[in-house]
């Protein structure tokens, strides 16, 4: 065996190294139980992950490294776009870690800070394998690696019943969907005799009903991860029950990886039956966006609210797979980047507010928030505006490119429906803004000071929300890789 091919998996290896270092550090470095402060919370993980992110960029910036590489006979495939996606996931994870700081300082968390990081990074590693998979087995292993530690993360607050219930629901649904998807993969193996992405495509035919069923089962499995209707039902419960940082991780990072993989598999494997896939997604997208919007309007728990918002956003995200065009891929990755900045920004504020106010997570708790915390309200408004797609924030541009990609691919009706839904989504995002700015309250959440990590995270997200759209470099940079998939 040629061990040098491991070098093609540079990002995975360096992430593994980060995990191991944190693992060892967890054994030897003590955290002060009372204050919850220590190297492990949060400087070390953030610094290591940042270094890892920067190292991971090497194939893109350094002329001597090659981004396109395979390992293990094509089971592992890396491309420049995959590197971009992994980098986005890295940045998102760094921000999630910044969110987690205050939560991990709590006395009952202080003794298990290390586990949080290792578990989170293991799921990230799983997503790496998903993103770079060239074989269904590799893909499935990555998917499971991303799912199973996630359950532990959702159940992280041991004493919270909600958390445990959410985890139970998550793992049960995850198992169910994995089982069905595995069944779909076995159907593919049965009809084609191979699981390599490249080799399957020529043997896929639109007339083969078994393969069509396999397509649906695969979409179901991925749809569960991205939380598309009708595979989304776990989302609200899990988002509400999970610790807020884990919710933010769930809503952005794991969703982003899955959306990218969905595109890759449709593009590489199911290309001959792309018309059928488009038909499926046509209805899935309409239902995801619309149903989620209808549910979001009536929520009061802000985390549950964000769950439905996330389902709706997932619908927009998947708009890019329609037609499986290179523009669609660019739009997906760009949308992911923009969505990450805005959504993590909102979660940072939800999280710090929850920590500082003793667990207030209802939208009505935010009444009069502007009076007591004007800066946070303002940043929250920026992020919500970006989520709703209001110019000049980045969310407008990401939706614009997404709609344009779908429009060019010929899905005019779908774009129109999505546009109408944007208006509805504006309504419910503004409900929060209204609560913060307009509705008076006798007992608003008192003024509080955020910690440095939250501030850093907020600064990153705000920069993202404001600049990613206006500076066209981001879009063109991503765009140049989309043809070389």
């Amino acid at each position: 065996m040629d061990y040098s091919q491991f070098l093609n998996m540079g990002q995975e290896l360096s992430l593994l190294a980060v995990i191991l270092i944190l693992f060892v550090a967890d054994l030897f470095m003590c955290t002060d139980r009372k204050s919850g402060k220590g190297v492990l919370n949060t400087p070390l993980p953030v610094i290591l992950l940042t270094v890892h992110t920067l190292l991971g960029l090497a194939p893109l910036v350094c002329p001597c490294c090659v981004a396109d590489a395979t390992a293990f006979g094509g089971m592992y495939v890396s491309s420049a776009m995959a590197v971009v996606v992994k980098t986005i996931l890295n940045v998102g994870t760094v921000i999630v870690f910044l969110t987690a700081h205050e939560w991990l300082k709590q006395p009952d968390m202080a003794n298990k800070q290390g586990e949080y990081y290792t578990l989170t990074l293991f799921t990230l590693l799983g997503m790496y394998f998903m993103v770079s998979a060239g074989h269904f087995l590799m893909f499935f292993i990555g998917l499971e690696l991303a799912s199973v530690p996630m359950t532990a993360l959702i159940a992280y607050s041991k004493k919270s019943q909600e958390s445990a219930e959410a985890a139970a629901k998550y793992i049960l649904t995850a198992l169910f969907s994995s089982g069905l998807m595995l069944y779909g993969i076995s159907l593919i193996y049965g009809t084609t005799g191979t699981l390599y992405f490249d080799q399957i495509a020529p043997q896929i035919h639109a007339t083969n009903l078994v393969q069509l069923a396999a397509l649906v089962l695969f979409i179901g499995g991925i749809g569960f991860k991205i939380s598309l209707v009708p595979f989304h039902l776990w989302t609200a419960d899990a988002y509400q029950g999970a610790p807020t940082t884990v919710t933010s991780y769930l809503s952005v990072i794991s969703k982003g990886a899955a959306a990218f993989v969905l595109f890759v598999v449709l593009y590489k494997v199911f290309a001959p039956i792309i018309d059928q896939a488009n038909l499926l997604f046509f209805w899935i997208i309409i239902f995801s966006i619309t149903l989620a919007n209808i549910f979001a309007v009536r929520q009061n728990n802000i985390k549950r609210f964000m769950a439905f918002s996330a389902i709706s956003q997932a619908g927009y995200l998947v708009l890019g797979v329609m037609g499986a065009t290179p523009q669609g891929l660019t739009a997906i990755v760009y949308y992911l980047l923009v969505y990450m900045a805005a959504n993590l920004g909102v979660f940072l504020i939800i999280s710090i507010t929850e920590q500082r106010s003793g667990g207030k997570v209802n939208i009505s708790d935010y009444d009069g928030f502007y009076r007591t915390n004007p800066k946070l309200s303002f940043l929250m408004t920026l992020c919500l505006f970006s989520l709703a797609g209001i110019p000049p924030f980045a969310g407008f541009f990401s939706k614009f490119f997404m709609f344009m990609a779908a429009f060019k691919a010929g899905f005019v009706v779908l774009v129109l429906i999505a546009l109408v839904n944007t208006v509805i989504s504006l309504y419910y995002y503004l409900l929060i803004v209204k609560a913060m700015y307009i509705i008076p309250s006798d007992e608003p959440i008192p003024t509080f000071k955020s910690d440095g990590y939250t501030k850093l995270g907020l600064a990153l997200c705000t920069l993202g929300v404001v600049l990613i759209g206006i500076i066209s470099w981001f879009y063109s940079y991503i765009d140049q890789f989309s043809f070389g998939l």
Binding site: F176, L233, S472
Partner: protein, 650 residues
């Protein structure tokens, strides 16, 4: 010449710093930040102008100035890449000339505001907005394409709105700012539609056709270009206050006076002229037949505004109407320009040069007049002419500079306005003697109302009561800009007058800015020059006869003889009332009310139904989200089966 980027970046940075952190600075620091940024811009602009005009601008072979694009990048791409929004910096004679005008006037205004705005609440905000405006205006003139121009065009509009409404506690300022914004925005709508038509049919937002494909696309879109250009012209007419879209400019005088000098006299209001000049090659090539629109709108506006200016009593309003009238001169000059090539006879294309020349000279002397008016208002605390009189003793420097600018705007030889206005009238004469004579007549009216204003302020009886309360005086920081601007006025005027009469051969304005970039030496047409000078002197004489004395028997008698005419002119021929009538009685009553009814009952009803439907659906399907995981799995499975079934059916 990538350093030109800093011409835009410096004021942007100053805006961000002052806008975000302004309240932590003292007034003085904030003022210095803005002024230093502008000083940087001015130095860079002058250097860029030097480099462009004298070092690298000319094509080595033809000797004509060419377009230079030091920076250009694609800001918003569309998929097939044929249509894209670019951002960049374009240097050509008119944009470089505008850089000079904007940076000079803006710098003067920055200095002047130290004195004028001293102690005002919101001093930092004021400087932040000034920087924002300067940035937008500079971005507008160096735009490489029409979309970028539109973007900065709107930014200019916003900063104008913010500055007019600077005294936001005064209801008059607030309504003036709203009026300005709504009227110009209304006109900009046409501009936008024009741009969209243009982009749709030509497949590009570029100004020029320098590639063969570009030429082909223009030829293909030739049938629609006149419409697109005319729509864009409406946008320009709104910004440049052409009749009937002029109504916002007089009210805009509610803003601080230095702002009026910068935005509503020298720079922003000429954006419309600049836009027409920028698109001029297209006008001449494809829309020659539609150019009389520009001419007659211009001629009527020039006359109307001059007539109104004769009867106003608020000194800033007189200047505002004078500005409208002078901008109309520039518009007319562009309209009468029928050729692009300069050639030997240069008759057809002289209007372009004349228009830009007048833009330049007008910016200098009109800024000087406004800043002078600011000094006067600062000294007597009133805008009304009857509060003034006899101020020449108290404000000597203001008096001299004001006089210089009045002479310049009246078109007296050796003052800058003479040379540029003379070229405009020459161009008009070449187009049609009728237009030429009308414009000469309006020039005479200009001289008349300006000297009416001058005598009203500096001569006549003193208002003793007012002066007893406090002693009117000048401040150094406010008079320096006046002196500099009037030196420019006299210097440019003397130089161009001598050169124009052939006293010496040298560079003149036409050598730098002309329709096709070729060297064009200004030579006055003696008949035109003589006629207009005599007419101007007569008009000044008439004004002196009527208004110079302590008492004004002739003026009073005139008012008594033609009370209605005076009243009409004073009321600006009731244009505002016409607008009120049209908007309130016709549009609001006949169009808006039915629409409002429709909106309230049908549209709202539909959305209420939608909301009711959403709620009902939401109630109906809330059992879907039951919290029972068995059911979740069931839904999942049913979903899969349905999807497979769908594939089988279709």
């Amino acid at each position: 010449m990538t350093y030109t980027l800093f011409i835009i970046l410096l004021p942007l940075i100053s805006f961000l710093v002052l806008g975000i952190a302004g309240k932590w600075f003292s007034h003085k620091t904030a003022g210095w930040i803005g002024t230093l940024a502008l000083a940087g811009v001015t130095v860079l602009s002058y250097y860029a102008a030097y480099e462009y005009f004298f070092v690298i601008g000319r094509d080595a072979v033809t000797g004509a100035f060419e377009r230079q694009v030091p920076i250009n990048f694609c800001w918003l791409p569309f998929f097939d890449q044929s249509l894209h929004f670019d951002m960049g910096i374009l240097l050509d004679p008119i944009s470089v000339m505008m850089l000079i005008v904007i940076s000079t006037v803006s710098f003067m205004v920055h200095i002047y505001s130290f004195g004028y705005m001293k102690g005002e609440k919101g001093f930092q905000r004021y400087y932040a907005f000034l920087s924002l405006f300067t940035m937008s205006m500079l971005g507008l003139v160096v735009a490489t394409n029409i979309f970028q121009m539109y973007l900065f065009w709107e930014l200019v509009g916003v900063s104008s709105y913010l500055l007019i409404g600077f005294y936001y506690t005064s209801p008059a300022a607030v309504s003036a700012s709203k009026k300005a914004f709504i009227v110009t925005r209304f006109a900009d709508l046409f501009f936008l539609i024009g741009i969209l038509i243009y982009g749709f049919y030509t497949g590009s937002f570029a100004f020029v056709f320098d590639t063969p494909e570009g030429l082909a696309s223009y030829a293909q879109a030739g049938f629609i270009l006149p419409l697109a250009l005319t729509l864009m012209f409406i946008g320009g007419a709104g910004k440049s206050a052409m009749f009937p879209l002029h109504i916002w400019l007089p009210d805009a005088m509610e803003g601080p006076t230095p702002v009026s000098a910068l935005i509503h006299a020298a720079t922003m209001v000429v954006a419309g002229v600049f836009q027409v000049a920028r698109l001029f090659p297209l006008w001449v090539t494809y829309a020659q037949d539609w150019m009389p629109v520009i001419i007659w709108v211009g001629v009527f506006t020039a006359f109307y505004a001059a007539a109104v200016a004769c009867a106003q009593s608020d000194i800033k309003r007189v200047l505002a109407f004078s500005t409208i009238s002078q901008i109309a001169f520039m518009m007319v000059a562009l309209g009468v320009c029928t050729e692009l090539q300069t050639g030997h006879e240069h008759v057809g294309s002289v209007g372009y040069m004349a228009s830009m020349f007048h833009l330049f000279t007008h910016a200098m002397f009109k800024a000087c007049l406004f800043l002078g008016a600011g000094c006067i208002i600062h000294a007597v605390h009133s805008n009304e002419m009857n509060a003034m009189g006899g101020l020449r003793k108290y404000l000597p420097l203001t008096h001299i500079t004001f006089l210089v600018s009045c002479l310049a705007i009246s078109g007296i030889p050796f003052f800058s306005g003479f040379s540029s206005k003379d070229e405009i009238i020459t161009a008009c004469m070449a187009y049609s003697p009728a237009v030429g004579y009308i414009m000469t007549g309006i020039a005479a009216m200009t001289a008349f109302y300006m000297f009416r204003l001058y005598y009203g302020i500096f001569w006549g009886t003193e208002n003793k009561e007012l002066h007893a309360a406090h002693h009117p005086h000048e401040t150094k920081v406010m008079t320096w800009p006046l002196v500099i601007l009037s030196i420019i006025t006299v210097g440019v005027g003397a130089y161009t007058t001598l050169a124009g009469f052939g006293m010496f051969e040298g560079y003149s304005f036409g050598s730098l800015v002309s329709a096709d970039g070729q060297d064009y030496r200004i030579h006055f047409d003696t008949t035109v020059a003589l006629t207009s000078t005599i007419v101007a002197i007569c008009a000044i004489g008439l004004a002196t006869w009527i208004f110079k004395g302590d008492r004004q028997p002739i003026a009073d008698k005139l008012y008594a003889t033609f009370p209605r005419l005076h009243r009409w002119a004073y009321k600006r021929f009731y244009m505002d009332e016409v607008y009120q009538f049209v908007t309130h009685k016709i549009i609001f009553a006949c169009v808006s009310k039915p629409i409002a009814w429709f909106d309230r009952h049908v549209v709202d009803g539909f959305f209420n139904f939608l909301a009711w439907g959403t709620n009902a659906t939401s109630n109906g399907i809330k059992t879907l989200q039951s919290g029972r995981v068995q059911q979740y799995a069931l839904v999942y499975l049913v979903g899969i089966i349905l999807l497979i079934a769908m594939l089988l059916i279709f």
